[in-house]
Amino acid sequence: MDEAARSYKIVLGVIGADCHAVGNRILTAVLTRGGIEVVNLGVMVSQEEFIEAAIAEDAGAILVSSIYGHGELDCQNFRARCEERGLGDIVLYVGGNLVIGKQDFATVEARFREMGFDRVFPPSVDLEQVIGLLRADIDARRPMALGHNSGRFVVEARA
């Protein structure tokens, strides 16, 4: 199975009581342009809604945005809820202005990594870079049969 044919499907949304819609639209546009299939839940999305959509759509990743500063409150136990619903291995990204005020990003990143997010992004992140990481991370978590990295290596070596 070659790279071009693989699908990269993700669930995207702005968590909690946050209604910042602009970045969500831009993210959707740029990710779609970058070959990612985006299931966009829009703004004010609960953890349950994210998880249910990810199950229903068989998505490879959940991208959580939070712009309004309540990220820490809204994202509590997100990974644990995923695990409860059988999504223990799903790629989990979070990005935006995650906390109140200008805090050292490394500290914020560590806090959200601790909470189970695979990657944490500041609002200034280069979206092209996010696309690259998404492809790699989704590939790395694919079941073997669907073309896991190690499997792909064997195929390429034969060619």
Binding site: A17, A21, V22, R33, Y68, I100, G101, P123
Partner: protein
């Protein structure tokens, strides 16, 4: 719910509704209207918002107002008193849970903030703090203070904060729904804001002038001036009907100087036109200019330049008030120091521009002409749809896409209208959606966009729009291809 109409709520309706509203959270129980009037009447002149605005308007001054709100009363008081020397009027930004009437979550935020020793809420949960808490705050300040939020149903919030001595209340049934909610039907939020406006009207009738400020910038992103003007005018008409008499209409900086000056000048003229035509004469109108509401550059020096451009154009257009941003804008809620820095830079720029020549040019006049043609066209259709009733009309206008706010989260908004910058950075319509603009106006937009497309050797597309949204934070006004 019966069909919405733009008619003053009867006393019976208001009182019955009031009893229900005050029951929605325990702190509502302590609200008493007569006591509230007494609190307001006891405010010294320097703490009355309407007075500060009227004086600034009379003297041709421009007031500065920051944005600020944290979870706990004492911390919020310290924050406001730290900002007070650098500004003219104070804000209290309400947290996002309270905006959605999620008072239990707000309480959890308060408790966790206390435990953490730092605010975990992005604003001040005024409902949870109640009348007494809010009064303690107002008493500790020396300048007028306004409630700034984003609440589709702000009835309890208005009851509590106005009873505590806040003398200005931001928002409106359209401007605090379309950009701030997802599922709230427009007729419901308009109806809830009729209540808020009626409450302010009752204060007015009791001799207390409370300032009302519809939220101008909407989604803050490439909003064509006519779109926010129509909302401001309609919300002004709705407020006047409920007895509000002190109105501040707003506009968010778009970035092109000629268009921004034209927008602020035409806003005042258009509003007066519609208010007078609706039979209102005894109101006081002022304007507020919001510094850039879109994405900011991360770098503080660059962010300060964005702030300074806003300060300059606001003063050139003689706005009564400026809502001031901070060099931390890209990073979310700012520190006290960053907020002070934004105010100091803005003050310096406003002062340097204050004495200078009035700015006039054919470009500004063209923009005024276009904006006025657009507003009149949409207002005509709103009144037609509502059979003369602006409340009914605006609901139907949004439902049919006659009114359409770009980048709005609300389901009540069609989201077909798509703006893009022209070759000089002014906001034009890439797709007018179902907004019934005159043919010559549409041709003007088309020509302007075609001019840019030629300059950039690419077809206009949504890519151009995406580039424009990301431009300012990437240090440009127009999102050109690399």
């Amino acid at each position: 719910m019966t069909e919405i109409e733009n008619r003053m709520l009867s006393d019976a309706t208001f009182q019955a509704e009031r009893a229900e509203v005050l029951k929605t959270w325990p702190s509502g129980g302590t609200v008493d209207f007569d006591a509230a009037v007494a609190v307001q009447a006891a405010l010294p002149p320097e703490k009355r918002f309407a007075l500060a605005l009227a004086e600034a308007d009379a003297e041709g001054r421009t007031l500065l107002q920051p944005r600020a709100g944290v979870a706990l009363i004492r911390e919020h008081e310290a924050l406001l008193n730290g900002l007070s020397p650098y500004c003219d009027v104070l804000p209290t930004t309400i947290d996002a849970y309270t905006r959605h009437n999620r008072y239990a979550e707000a309480q959890e935020g308060i408790d966790r903030s206390r435990a953490a020793g730092t605010s975990l809420l992005n604003g001040f949960p005024a409902v949870n703090h109640g009348v007494d808490g809010c009064r303690r705050l107002v008493d500790a300040l020396s300048k007028p203070v306004q409630v700034r939020h984003g609440t589709p149903d702000a009835r309890l919030l208005a009851e509590i904060t106005l009873a505590a001595g806040f003398s200005s209340f931001e928002g409106g049934g359209i401007s605090y729904n379309i950009p701030y909610a997802k599922h709230v039907p427009l007729e419901r939020s308009i109806r809830h804001w009729q209540y808020c406006d009626r409450l302010v009207g009752r204060f007015e009738e009791a001799g207390i002038r409370i300032n009302r400020e519809p939220f101008g910038p909407l989604t803050g992103t490439l909003v064509p001036p006519f779109v926010s003007h129509v909302v401001a005018i309609v919300e002004g008409l709705l407020a006047l009907e409920q007895g509000v008499r002190c109105l501040t209409l707003g506009y968010g900086q778009a970035g092109n100087l000629a268009q921004d000056i034209a927008a602020l000048r035409s806003l005042r003229r258009l509003a007066n036109h519609y208010f007078l035509n609706a039979g209102f004469t005894d109101y006081k109108l002022t304007t507020v200019f919001h510094q850039w509401m879109g994405g900011f550059p991360e770098d503080e020096a660059q962010a300060t330049a964005v702030i300074c451009l806003g300060a300059l154009v606001a003063r050139q257009a003689r706005a009564t008030k400026i809502i001031v941003k901070t060099p931390h804008e890209a990073a979310g809620v700012p520190t006290l120091e960053a907020n002070q820095a934004g105010l100091k830079a803005t003050r310096q720029m406003v002062n340097m521009i204050s004495d200078q020549n009035r700015v006039d040019s054919p470009d500004i006049q063209t923009e005024i002409d276009v904006i006025e043609a657009e507003v009149h066209a949409v207002m005509r259709e709103i009144l037609r749809l509502g059979r003369g009733d602006v409340a009914r009309g605006i609901v139907q206008a949004f439902a049919s896409g006659v009114m359409d706010v770009p980048f709005a989260p609300a389901r009540a908004n069609l989201g077909k209208l798509t703006p893009v910058r022209d070759n000089f950075g002014a906001i034009r319509l890439f797709d007018a959606g179902h907004v019934p603009l005159p043919d010559d106006v549409l041709a003007f937009h088309r020509d302007k966009i075609a001019e840019r497309a030629r300059a950039e050797r690419r077809e206009p597309s949504f890519n151009m729009v995406v580039d424009d949204v990301r431009a300012i934070s990437a240090s440009k006004l127009v999102g050109r291809p690399a």
